[in-house]
Symmetry: C2
Subunit: 139 residues, 2 copies
DNA sequence: TACTTAAGTATCAAAATGGAAACTATTACT
DNA sequence: AGTAATAGTTTCCATTTTGATACTTAAGTA
């Protein structure tokens, strides 16, 4: 079982208060969690960013191999959006055949650091989730 | 500009190596990032978990108000999945009208701690993303 | 002339997702 | 009998999101 200390709870409460004080809850003003996270925590975006963290530079087709299951269309879409938001840099070399390299910006790298907290948690708790699901289904 | 120290880069590389060593990249074995994160980093799930962190207990309609824009269908769907995966607890009181309470489990709380790293980052970098987008469009 | 390769784009059908609105169950109250 | 409230479920339709496949561009090579 997970144990959570009172100290941890306090820290979390503090962070939440700060965050929720900053964002307006009721009205539909701009909400970074809805906007920024929508792209950056997307299933494919997460994988793209992680692989670009692992391999400093990747080309389109290489990336597509690592992020298996993604289609040309979706990959190029996500790359364009991630570039637009500033997470990554696209460099095109006018060779033949053309060569394009993708790499994280410092901004993207800064995001990756936080993202890692989450993906590490996910990899170490994946089995628990599976167990929970089974228990739930059989209940 | 974001500055990233070599020290930070080293730490990130270490984490990535550990994660990517653990998961098999090439074959399609079970991948917690694809599976666990798919639900837990979903747009609506994030908001649900954050609000359940902020308010220790919430009922269906209250939650729906906070997570504005979500429909009955999607909210009840997400709640069921989050319950199944073990993030939250659903308690039903056989009163009339019926009363149902949702709250985070310790497991869900443990996830929330990591999630906060990301949402805090997002709230403090939302303006940068907006700026980046503008720059990109006008380039 | 045809072929090759990288990095996409274009296109169209298929599938998944989403939202709106109506409906259900239950018991007490008027 | 009709109304009210909560917590959903159901239905149906529209929009979004995918996925697969073919196509493009450019220069060098066989």
């Amino acid at each position: 079982m997970e144990t959570i200390t009172d100290n941890q709870k306090l820290r979390v409460a503090k962070k939440l208060k700060k965050m929720f004080g900053h964002i307006d809850l009721k009205t539909e003003t701009y909400c970074p969690i809805r906007d920024v996270m929508a792209l950056a925590s997307d299933k494919w975006s997460i994988l793209i960013i992680l692989y670009l963290g692992y391999f400093p530079v990747l080309r389109f087709n290489k990336l597509k191999k690592y992020v298996y299951g993604i289609s040309n269309k979706v990959l190029s879409e996500r790359l364009k959006m991630l570039e637009a938001d500033g997470y990554l840099l696209r460099t095109m070399y006018a060779e033949v055949p053309i060569r394009v390299e993708y790499q994280l910006t410092n901004f993207g790298y800064s995001y990756l650091q936080k993202l890692l907290e989450l993906t590490e948690w996910a990899t170490s708790h994946g089995d628990t989730v599976i167990k929970n699901r089974k228990k739930f289904r059989s209940a």
